[in-house]
């Protein structure tokens, strides 16, 4: 049963069909959670007693930062699977995730810097988290650049899988070294959302937004994967038939 499931999911044609059916579900649930999360986050949740209203950017910033790391781990895991078992569909997932991951990383950096201007008085500080997030963005950009530079997309996918794995080994080292560097070079006066306990009225919208972003990622990665599959299999018969059907 499970073997059959994996076997079917490994087939581009089957994956294409299933992904096409799943995308609307992901999209609808993404929109519902997005509206709910934004409404409760921006209107219902109380203002912060220190930061006032400007803390509300957290409802975009924090989930985006979580996604930036989550997507990298997804990429590394699917990279490992595609290197070990040579499953085409996980290769496609690695590639399709890279751009989404880079966008979330950029979003986290941009919202963080927008928040930093009123709070810290400058757009950018060499804070440990900002710096490691910036380096994460570079890692994503490296993956995208390498993929676009290699002509043969199957070779590119495997090269990128190795790079994602090398990156995932290094991310903790980079993160801790940056944190260590930061504590040495900067006074520890800056603590972002330093209070570990968060009121439920703020936490619930935050988690809703986190789920919403995950659903968005699911929808987008499936869309991109479908496009990638059609491009890779453009000479296969089922794709030709699909195109002819669309044309009618």
């Amino acid at each position: 049963m499970i073997v059959r499931f994996f076997h079917q999911m490994g087939s581009p044609r089957y994956f294409y069909g299933v992904a096409g059916k799943l995308i609307p579900w992901f999209m609808v649930s993404f929109l519902i959670t997005l509206v709910l999360g934004l409404y409760y986050g921006l209107f219902v949740a109380p203002p912060d007693y220190q930061q006032g209203e400007s803390y509300r950017i957290m409802y975009i910033h924090v989930p985006a930062a979580w996604m930036s790391m989550f997507i990298y781990v997804v990429m590394a895991v699917s990279g490992l699977i595609s290197l070990v078992w040579r499953i085409k569909m996980t290769e496609v997932v690695v590639i399709s995730s890279a751009t989404v991951g880079a966008s979330f990383t950029f979003l986290a950096l941009a919202t963080g810097s927008l928040w930093g201007k009123p709070m810290w008085g400058s757009w950018w500080v060499w804070d440990a988290r900002l710096t490691s997030e910036l380096l994460l963005l570079f890692l994503y950009l490296g993956i995208i650049a390498l993929h676009s530079a290699i002509e043969d997309k199957r070779v590119a996918a495997r090269a990128v899988s190795i790079l994602a794995l090398v990156g995932v080994v290094n991310i903790p080292i980079i993160h801790y070294s940056v944190e260590w560097w930061n504590t040495l070079h900067q006074p520890a006066s800056i603590t972002k959302f330093g209070k570990p306990s968060m009121d439920m009225s703020m936490l619930v919208p935050l988690l809703t937004m986190a789920i919403s972003f995950k659903l968005y990622y699911g929808a987008v990665v499936l869309m991109r994967a479908r496009a990638e599959i059609v491009e890779r299999e453009r000479n296969a018969r089922w794709v030709q038939e699909l195109v002819q059907e669309e044309a009618k």
Partner: protein, 227 residues
Amino acid sequence: MSTLSLTSAFTLLLKRDMTLAYRRRSELVNPLLFFVLVTAMFPLGIGNDPKLIEAVGPGVIWVAALLAALLSLDAMFRSDFEDGSLEQFMLSAHPVSILVLAKILAHWLVTGLPLFIAAPLLAVLLNIPGDAIPTLMLTLILGTPVLSLIGSVGVALTVGLRRGGVILSLLVLPLYVPVLIFATDAVKTAIVGIPTTAQLSILSAMLVGSLVLAPLATAASLRISLS
């Protein structure tokens, strides 16, 4: 097929690469010259205040070493890739990761070691006090092999590309950050006169870790690049 032991294959490859490097002596000097030039540009850019130069000195030397290593990386597999000998290594009966290690070692002896030898001179130019120079040398001898090892993965991934240079720096520089942080911090700590065992231990750990893992990743990447 004659049987060649792994050790002799390793030494043969190392000797071959060293001979090749020796025959192209002018290329050998390039990374070193680059290292010295970049370092000399900094005081011209930031002004000749001795205190300022001393403060940025360790960072400047290490960033210059990073760039020099990056500049020379591309040559690691390039000529072997172009004349096809890289494919022969892949076909050999010996584990590719060990053969790759020989090439990395040769690369480091040619490009990393000269930086280590030139470093005291640059340290003097940048007002780094004499007491801190041994620490600087130690960080270089521990850190530059890591640069070659991590870099080899990037080179292996980009060796088949026509315009690999820019991508290579994008792939490799973020991975160099930990070395840069701990090495410069060790030197700065030594200038103040505080023991630097912690930083040096971490650098050694990075060296050992990359020595074990990087050749494997490089071998796998080469297989992909040549497929």
